[in-house]
Symmetry: C2
Subunit: 210 residues, 2 copies
C-alpha cells in the first residue's frame, strides 16, 4: 500500500520551511531545552506570533546590541558602568567576588548585600587551561589597589577549582585589603541527614558559640 | 553593618538593564523554561552574542514574518500551500487528520506515511467551549467533498475529547470517504506490566491473528 511506503528522513525536514528548522535547531542550543522541547517552544512561539515571538525577537536583538560587560566589575551593563557600579548608595569599600553574573543575581535576590561586585567570568581550572589572565583577576587587584576597598568577600563555588581560585585571589590581595569568604555550613532549613559529609565537616569546623 | 542592610526587591531588577529583565520574562513564557532556567538561557545567549543570540533573534523575526498556516491543510507554510500539500509525490487520496502540527511532525518522523494531512488546531472540548467551527473540520469536509479522497485516517489523541472529535468527524464524512483511525495497543517495546488498563483492554479488543 502506498501509504505504507515512505522514506523521508526523521526530524520533519523543511515542514514549515527552512526557517522553522533553523529556529528549532537554535532553540535546542539553549540550556534546559532538548530537540523535543525546542520543537514545542517553536510551536508555542508560532501560536503567539504577535504577543510573544515578534517582541522576543526584537528584545533579543536589542539586548545583543546594547548589553555589554561593565568596564568596572564585568557584570551586565547598558552603559559603560553597570547599575550597581553607578549607584552611589552601594558601598564602594566592599567588593563581592563572584564567578558569574548568575551568582551576582543570586546575591542580589538575597537582599543582604549593599556593596559592589567583581565578576570573574569563571574560576581557575588547570583542566580547562583557565589561568588568572583568562579571568578578571588582574582587574580586581587594580580595583583594590586604586579604590578605598576595605574588604573583599569571596563568594566563589565550594568546588576544588572555586577554592583554588579563592586562595589565589587571597594571595594576590595580601596586604591590600581584608579578604573574607562566605561561610560554609548547614543550609537554612537543611536536615543533617541529607547533607554530604563535606558540608557537615565544614559546619562543624566553623561552629559558633551561642 | 552596612553590608548587612539591603532592601532591593528580588529578581535582580534592572541589573544589565530593562532589556535583560524583559528577555528573561519572555523566555520564562516558553514551555519547559521556568524563571530560573530562563535566567540561565538569557546568560547563555549573552555569552554567545554573535554565534547564537543575534542569529536567533533574526531567525525568530523572519519566521514570525514568513510562516503562516497552509491554506489547504493548516500546517506550517512559507507559501500559500505547505511543503507536503505542494508535493505531487504525496498521495492526495489519503488525508491524515491530526490535532496539532507537532503530531504531524511525529507522523513524518515515523516515515511510514506518504499521504497528505489536515491539522485541526485542537480537539472538540465542551469544557473549553471548542466547537467544530473553532477547528478546521468544515475545511476537512470540503477537502474530502471536492478532492478524490479515498481514505481519511484519524490520528487524534486517545483522550475523551480526542475520541469525541474522531466520532464527530467520522459522522461528518459518512458516505464521502472511508474513515479509519490509528490502532490502539501495546507500544513497540512496551512491557504489559507498565501499561495502563485502558491500553491493555484496547490491545486485547483489537488482537490480530498471526
Amino acid at each position: 500500500m502506498s501509504d505504507e511506503i515512505g522514506n523521508r528522513p526523521g526530524g520533519a525536514p523543511g515542514l514549515g520551511g527552512e526557517g522553522v528548522d533553523r529556529l528549532i535547531e537554535m532553540l535546542a542550543r539553549l540550556p534546559g531545552l532538548g530537540p523535543r522541547s525546542a520543537r514545542r517552544a517553536a510551536l508555542h512561539l508560532l501560536k503567539r506570533r504577535e504577543s510573544l515571538m515578534a517582541p522576543l525577537a526584537q528584545t533579543m536583538a536589542e539586548v545583543a546590541r546594547t548589553v555589554r560587560p561593565c568596564a568596572e566589575c564585568g557584570a551586565l551593563a547598558t552603559a559603560e558602568r553597570c547599575a550597581i557600579c553607578a549607584d552611589p548608595r552601594r558601598d564602594a569599600g566592599l567588593i563581592c567576588v563572584v564567578e558569574d553574573v548568575s551568582d551576582l543575581w543570586a546575591m542580589e535576590r538575597s537582599g543582604a548585600y549593599a556593596g559592589r561586585y567583581h565578576v570573574l567570568g569563571g574560576v581557575l581550572s588547570a583542566l580547562d587551561g583557565i589561568g588568572p589572565d583568562e579571568l578578571r583577576i588582574p582587574d580586581l587587584a587594580r580595583r583594590v589597589r586604586e579604590g578605598a576597598v576595605r574588604e573583599v568577600i569571596l563568594a566563589l563555588p565550594a568546588t576544588m577549582d572555586g577554592q583554588t581560585t579563592a586562595h589565589y585571589i587571597a594571595a594576590q590581595l595580601e596586604g591590600l585589603s581584608a579578604v573574607t569568604s562566605l561561610a560554609q555550613g548547614v543550609p537554612v532549613g537543611g536536615e543533617l541527614d541529607y547533607l554530604d559529609d563535606g558540608t557537615i565537616t565544614a559546619a562543624l569546623r566553623q561552629r559558633r558559640g551561642l
